[in-house]
């Protein structure tokens, strides 16, 4: 920041020097007055700026939770200067990006904080791709009137808005179901009707839904116990969105559309999310739109991998897995070998 002020400092010093030389060689009273003025202006400028910024209020807000690709994200920056002095040189440095398309361009927003006024500045971001939109404010700097000294104010803020993929106009394809132990036991569980017979109780594992905790037994046993239902054996859809290749956007659209279609039909399913950093999988139960979105958001944080062996990894780690629906780009690949997870 000091570097940015350097040209101004040099030019001001030159003005001062010219005045000084003029006053020395020509001994003009007006030049002497100007010299005096040049000498006292910088401290006055810095002192007044410091005084004004003590009362400055500022924030950046975004009211929407998520939006579909193609729509605008609106971030509002508000600046409230209750002082009687205007702050002409407020500079906000920010960056924004879709996590799948890194953009290192630094944006600087120069704003005036008008005296005794609150002003709103709206930053509209147009989106075209699904992914996690991240808006980061790095610094807020206030420079004095003569651009000699810059004050940095604490203002680190990150706003994350998930951008949903566009829903495709699809009809639900004939997805092969996973082989069940007993076809008759298969029940179509509607949303909110999860209280079928309990197969067993087991200890809590991170990722388990809170509503599956058996609170009474947990209280008795003094540890968290989770109910396991018999329908888990009937779960016959496992979606494996593969974050590979250059058709990730299409994959998101297909996954989102397929999930919505399944949920509309009343089907619940699991989604396997691959973590390339530790080569593990997380299995998420998708039982409603909320959990579908959560799975999508988790997916947004995963990096794209170059290898195309995610499915093999899954088979290797979970040999019993079967009936997996692989989503590669805009393709659905069905695992013919059905089996219970």
């Amino acid at each position: 920041m000091i570097r940015k002020n350097l040209p101004f400092i040099i030019s001001y010093a030159l003005i001062l020097l010219c005045n000084l030389l003029g006053a020395i060689f020509y001994r003009q009273s007006f030049l002497a007055v100007l010299l005096l003025l040049c000498a006292i202006l910088p401290p006055i400028s810095i002192a007044l700026t410091k005084h004004a910024l003590l009362t400055l209020r500022y924030d950046a807000i975004c009211t929407i939770q998520n939006l579909e690709a193609g729509n605008n994200v609106l971030i509002t920056f508000h600046l409230n200067n209750p002082s009687f002095l205007p702050l002409l040189n407020c500079q906000i440095d920010f960056t924004f990006e879709n996590l799948y398309f890194p953009n290192k361009t630094l944006h600087t927003l120069s704003l005036p904080a008008e005296p005794k006024r609150e002003r709103f500045f709206k930053l509209p971001f147009q989106t075209s791709m699904a992914g996690m939109f991240v808006f980061t404010i790095h610094t807020l700097c206030i420079t004095d009137y003569l651009h000699i000294y810059t004050f940095s104010l604490p203002f680190n803020k990150e706003i994350k808005i998930p951008v949903l993929p566009k829903e495709l106009d699809l009809t639900l394809p004939a997805i092969p179901k996973a082989a069940a132990e007993d076809e008759e036991k298969i029940t179509n569980h509607q949303r909110g009707t999860l209280s079928s017979e309990i197969l067993q109780l087991r200890e809590y594992r991170p990722g388990d839904r809170l509503q599956h905790i058996h609170w009474k037994m947990s209280a008795k046993m003094d540890e968290l116990l989770v109910k396991e239902f018999d329908y888990s054996l009937d779960l016959h859809y496992l979606l494996l969105p593969e974050l590979t290749g250059d058709q990730v956007q299409e994959m998101f659209s297909v996954y989102y559309t397929l999930g919505r279609l399944l949920l509309k039909k009343g089907e619940i399913f699991k989604t396997a999310i691959y973590h390339p950093t530790d080569h593990t999988f997380t299995f998420l139960d998708i039982i409603d739109d909320e959990s579908l979105l959560q799975s999508l958001y988790q997916l947004y944080y995963e990096p794209i991998v170059n290898c195309s062996s995610i499915y093999e990894q899954l088979c290797f780690i979970y040999p019993i897995s079967a009936g997996v629906v692989r989503i590669c780009g805009d393709q659905l690949i069905f695992d013919k070998v059905g089996g219970a997870l």
């Binding site: 009273s29 002409l88 879709n98 005296p115 147009q126």
Partner: protein, 851 residues
């Protein structure tokens, strides 16, 4: 074209954003704000800053020199003009049309008020020069003619006018760039005119300037004052793309501008009041002496005395002799210091030439003094056995070039025994034999000489030279001498064909060739003398008609021949130009001529001189034609340095001929023709003014008549009114052309529906102007019904029958997705025109007027 450029930029920006959107999946659009910058308010603040800066400068200078002017007129006109120029930056239309209008008004008013402005300008500089002259104790300063003597009016008009010029320039630096350096230079440099000689402007003007400096410094350093005419009304931010960075700056904050301007005025006032003691202290530059100040002082003095062109000289030209060097002096800049003090008794009204330097060989823009000949540049005086008049002259060299001695023509004795004596070849014994009576003059003691100041002093005896119609035979001239003259003084550079061509052309144009033939065919010396004198007269006439005298002709370009450039291109010059050129022209036609430099004592010098004694005993012998002459002591300054030629007459010797034409009144005519700027920046010499000129230009210059007193205000107002009407007509024409162009474009794109709707809208607007329609946005059916009822009696039956189908077609054109056919467009477009005509006729019949 400019509109296309902006469209191109907008398209480019849109293309970049599209690319970024595809590349990164997200892009920042146009940043919006809750308050769009108020252009009107911002222009007013800018206008106020411009007003303060221009009035601060103009008023500051005027107050420092105590110039009389109408403060109300000047400040009011500057305020209006400042606002006008500030609003040029309101939008693109005001910018382009406003500047054209500004140019027209400015030029018209400049022409109408030419003499007021010119006189005011000259009055201003006369005041300035006077004050500077007092400050520096200058013996001389330039003074210009004020054609209108009422300084209160002329200075008011001039100040307002120069203020306008300032407003235009300051508008660029303030509205355009908010640049302190440019604003400071524009205002501070003119203010140096009074400040340099410690004349302080009044405090309110300094406060205005200081406030503007502070405001522009602060506003310029922030980035929020760039609201330009280029941006559209709804644009609030300016985006700049750099490598890896994008800057978004809020364009303009009117409230901040106003606040800063107010605080600047308050701060400037308080600061100046607190520091005003400095102005009243002895902190001034009058007694400061250092290299920088002294050098600047010298330049200032030179400018005050000789003008700006004196700075262009390639070598020093402070009057005096140039020793034959020609072409490097742009402007003669005498210092008016005394070079020679000459004591003598004037014997006629003719000028007396004191000869010093002669040039023989002309080469490389130099008339070289060559000593190779045994006669040198000798001058053989005419030997008269019974001269009616002898003179004695005392010459004291106070500052002239001391290499030379300065003798009048026909000198036969000098008290110096120095080389270069004019009496070489004419021995002292011979002189004493011939001019016995003259030597008795030397019995009177010489004038006292201040030996500390004088470089040299000497006395001469001479025969007072006067131009004659014919010259008697000089017995001193020998054949050997004459041969030597012809061998040495006919040289013309043969290597410059351009120069030779120019000389030949001049000889032909001036009609010298036939006269030269006469001279060549002369049988006696007297015939030849007459022919040569006729040639000289012809050449003098030619110069007087075709060439101008000026002290500031400009330098000769480095690769040009001085004489050639003067004769063929420059056509204006001072004595050296005329002398050198005529020397070569006369040589070209076979007349021995030489270039001479020295000093010329004119009759006006004599009249201004000190008469030291009315008794002329010991200084003149013989009968004077001017009986009232006394002994005078003339201070010959370097301004009297002169160049002329000597022409050789067979049988008599050398005679001095001054070829320099007198300065005439062409300068004034030139000023009129050149118009405005020449009048501003040239100071017309006082001797250029004639009563005739003034009467032609100003029929009632006493200021008594109404037209003279108020004409300078009324005429620009009338002009402004006419300009506004013209502007209005132009805009109307442009709007009409734009509509027609739109229709043409739509037809070219086969969008017949839109074209018909456009024509319908035009007709609807006309209807709305003349008659009351049921609604603000009436339906087509309402309009047709209303129209039908209005023009029913005048409506042709065939037109009336088509109205229902017109309504149907218009509805289709306006609301249907399918286009109407070309035939429909042609039919119903002509129907609309017919209806429009019928409506106009009906409204005339009913006596309806414009709402």
């Amino acid at each position: 074209m400019i509109a296309n450029l902006f469209q191109f930029q907008a398209k480019k920006e849109a293309r970049i954003r599209k690319e970024e959107l595809n590349q990164f999946g997200v892009v920042l659009g146009d940043i919006q704000t809750d308050v769009i910058p108020n252009r009107f308010f911002i222009c007013i603040i800018r206008g106020l800053l411009i007003f303060m800066a221009s009035l601060g400068t103009i008023g500051g200078i005027a107050s420092a020199f105590e110039l009389p002017f109408n403060f109300l007129l000047v400040s009011l006109s500057l305020l209006i003009f400042s606002m006008y120029v500030a609003f040029l930056y309101y939008n693109r239309i005001t910018f382009y049309i406003g500047y054209i209008l500004l140019f027209v008004i400015f030029t018209f008013s400049a022409f109408l008020l030419y003499w007021y402005i010119n006189s005011g300008y000259q009055a201003f500089w006369n005041c300035v020069f006077e004050q500077y002259s007092d400050y520096f104790h200058l013996s001389y300063y330039r003074e210009s003619t004020e054609f209108i003597t009422d300084r209160y009016i002329t200075l008011s008009v001039t100040m307002a006018f120069i203020g306008f010029l300032y407003c235009i320039l300051l508008n660029i630096t303030i509205s355009g760039y908010m640049n302190l350096t440019e604003t400071f230079l524009l205002t501070f440099l003119p203010l140096q005119i009074p400040l340099y000689i410690d004349r302080i402007p009044q405090l309110p003007y300094l406060i205005m300037l200081l406030s503007v400096y502070i405001a522009v410094l602060i506003l310029g350093r922030s980035t929020h004052f760039q609201l330009s005419y280029k941006q559209n009304k709804k644009q609030s931010f300016l985006c700049r793309r750099k490598k890896g960075e994008q800057q978004h700056s809020y364009l303009s904050s009117g409230i901040s501008m106003l606040t800063i301007s107010i605080y600047s005025v308050v701060f400037g006032t308080v600061f100046l009041l607190l520091t005003s003691v400095i102005f009243y202290s002895n902190f001034n530059g009058k007694y400061v002496s250092n290299v920088v100040k002294n050098t600047t002082d010298e330049y200032v003095k030179t400018y005050i005395q000789n003008g700006i062109f004196s700075f262009l000289n390639r070598y020093e030209a402070t009057g005096g002799l140039s020793r034959g060097k020609l072409g490097g002096v742009s402007s003669i800049t005498p210092d008016y210091e005394t070079d020679l003090t000459v004591t003598f008794v004037p014997y006629s009204s003719d000028s007396i030439y004191l000869r010093a330097y002669t040039g023989m060989l002309y080469e490389n823009n130099l008339f070289e003094h060559v000593y190779s000949d045994r006669y040198n540049d000798s001058y053989l005086p005419y030997v008269s056995q019974s001269s009616p008049l002898y003179g004695r002259m005392s010459v004291i060299n106070m500052g002239a070039d001391d290499v030379y001695n300065y003798y009048p023509y026909e000198t036969f004795y000098t008290s110096l025994d120095a080389p270069g004596s004019p009496i070489t070849g004419f021995t002292l014994d011979q002189a004493k034999d011939n001019y016995t009576e003259a030597f008795t003059l030397l019995s009177v003691p010489a004038t006292d000489i201040d030996s500390e100041e004088a470089l040299s002093s000497y006395e001469v005896l001479y025969l007072p030279y006067q131009e004659q119609m014919s010259y008697a035979h000089n017995s001193s001239i020998t054949q050997d001498y004459e041969d030597s003259v012809y061998a040495c003084y006919l040289q013309v550079p043969q290597n410059s064909s351009s120069l030779l061509d120019t000389l030949d052309t001049i000889c032909e144009d001036a009609g010298l060739l036939s006269l030269a033939e006469d001279a060549a065919n002369a049988k006696t010396d007297s015939e030849q003398q007459a022919a040569r004198l006729a040639i000289i007269s012809a050449l003098k006439r030619y110069f007087a008609v075709n060439y101008d005298y000026t002290m500031a002709p400009g330098t000769t370009p480095r690769d040009y021949d001085f004489v050639d450039y003067f004769l063929s291109v420059q056509k204006r010059g001072y004595c050296a130009h005329f002398a050198a050129s005529s020397a070569l022209i006369l040589r070209r036609i076979g007349i021995p001529t030489r270039y001479v430099e020295g000093y010329m004592i004119t009759m006006s010098d004599v009249l201004n001189a000190t008469v030291i004694d009315s008794n002329t005993d010991g200084w003149i012998a013989g009968k004077l034609t001017m009986p009232d002459s006394g002994l005078v002591e003339v201070d010959v300054t370097d301004a009297s340095a002169h160049a002329w030629i000597e022409v050789y007459l067979d049988g008599y010797g050398w005679i001095p001929v001054d070829m320099t034409p007198p300065s005439d009144d062409n300068v004034l005519a030139g000023n009129e023709l050149l118009g405005l700027l020449s009048g501003f920046f040239t100071t017309a010499p006082r001797n250029n003014v004639t009563e005739e000129n003034i009467e032609i230009v100003l029929p009632a210059q006493d200021g008594s008549s109404f037209s003279t007193t108020f004409g300078f205000i009324l005429r620009p107002l009338v002009t402004l009114f006419v300009c506004l009407i013209l502007l209005f007509l132009c805009i109307a024409l442009l709007v009409q052309c734009k509509k027609q162009h739109q229709v043409k474009v739509l037809l070219r794109n086969k969008n017949y529906s839109a074209a018909l709707v456009l024509e319908y809208r035009t007709m609807l607007l006309r209807l709305k102007r003349y008659m009351q329609l049921p609604y603000d946005h009436p339906a087509v059916s309402d309009v047709i019904a209303c129209l039908q009822s209005f023009i029913a009696p005048d409506l042709a039956p065939d037109l009336a029958s088509q109205l229902p189908s017109l309504e149907r077609i218009l509805q289709k054109a306006a609301f249907s997705n399918s286009q109407i056919s070309q035939a429909d467009y042609i039919n119903y477009s002509s129907l609309l025109h017919s209806l429009s005509r019928s409506f106009r006729a009906a409204s005339k019949n009913k006596g309806l007027s414009h709402k």
